[in-house]
């Protein structure tokens, strides 16, 4: 069971997935504490460990005005027993996306709202990492958010090596839940036949893609 503050309109929504120190984390080059508020920080994946301890600097963020912390209950239950720090409220990926989209729609040019959200996958992952990233995509698809997923070479090769996970990711293409583009890798005809598009690495910063509707995982 999750609770959420459905009516809060955040100016910034951030997903934290890595166990990075707070003072080493930058979002588009900005320290977390300096992001525009109201700010929602959503913990998912291995970042769940950051909210286990009441004295964590991440948890102490919640003491500041205009900052709220939430976590994915499934990611927590996969890794931990009991409950996280009291200042962090239970939530879900679907709720994360609802807040993220509301934030983008309020803060960006309305003409951009029809464009797909770009999700960039950068690095290799273990199998659970790929499962949880896929869950991020499926949660967005639940809300019928158009998605364009862009793999860097390391990430794509890592997913290709995890055969069960690659099979699971294929549902995104089979049911037109997202499009998938791979950068800087020689095209595999078998993958092309499954719907994967290949592009040179230079396509990474293609013109016209609004940076404000982009997430890196």
């Amino acid at each position: 069971m999750t609770s959420d503050r459905k009516h809060t309109q955040y100016n910034t929504v951030v997903m934290v997935r890595a166990k990075d120190r707070l003072n080493a984390t930058r979002i588009e080059g900005i320290a977390v504490e300096d992001l525009t508020r109201p700010l929602l920080v959503f913990f998912h994946g291995d970042a769940i460990d950051l909210i286990a301890d009441e004295s964590s600097p991440w948890v102490e963020l919640a003491r500041q005005s205009g900052i709220e912390l939430a976590y994915c209950t499934t990611a927590w239950q996969r890794r931990r027993n009991g409950l996280p720090a009291a200042a962090v409220r239970p939530s879900s990926l679907v709720q994360f996306w609802a807040h993220q989209m509301a934030c983008w729609q309020a803060c960006t040019d309305p003409d951009l709202n029809e464009q797909p959200v770009l999700i960039r996958l950068i690095d290799a992952q273990p199998a659970l990492g790929w499962q949880e990233r896929l869950e991020v995509m499926l949660a967005a698809a639940t809300l019928e958010i158009p998605l364009s997923i862009q793999f860097e070479a390391d990430a794509w090769c890592s997913l290709a090596d995890a055969a069960d996970q690659r099979r699971a990711w294929q549902q995104l293409l089979d049911f037109e839940l997202a499009d998938i583009e791979v950068l800087g890798v020689e095209a595999d005809p078998d993958q092309v036949s499954l719907g994967v598009r290949y592009a040179p690495a230079a396509a990474r910063d293609r013109a016209g893609q609004p940076a404000v509707r982009r997430i890196e995982l």
Binding site: T74, L93, A139, A141, R167, A168, L177
Partner: protein
């Protein structure tokens, strides 16, 4: 409330607290009929189409389909492009995906969606 054991065709079938099979290999069509009966359902062709689709999807991808996917494919099956999710909820009043997983023999998903 679901019993945790079902006696079926001379076998004891274990269920979890939510009524999902502990062991998916215990599943059979006749067991699905029995589990449905215990939930007050008489399975029609439409019910079976949903159960079969969810089972095939789970076997292929490792997770149940999104409701959005199920509705789209059910519209194709019925050849009724305007069909709403109400039709699926009329068939499976609990939650179409969850109930079809349960009756289709899959454990409660370790899945966030």
């Amino acid at each position: 409330m679901t019993d945790k054991v079902v006696e079926h065709e001379g076998r004891r079938i274990l269920l979890d607290d939510d009524g999902h099979l502990i062991d998916p290999d215990d599943w059979s069509q006749s067991l699905a009929v029995e589990l449905s009966r215990r939930e007050g359902l008489v399975l029609t062709d439409a019910h079976w189409w949903v159960i079969d689709f969810v089972r095939a999807y789970h076997a292929r991808y490792g997770n149940p389909p999104l409701m959005r996917v199920l509705i789209g494919e059910f519209r194709n099956f019925k050849n009724e492009p305007e069909l709403s999710s109400r039709e699926l909820y009329r068939l499976f009043s609990d939650n179409p995906v969850r109930q079809a997983c349960r009756l289709g023999g899959y454990p409660k998903p370790d899945w966030c969606i």
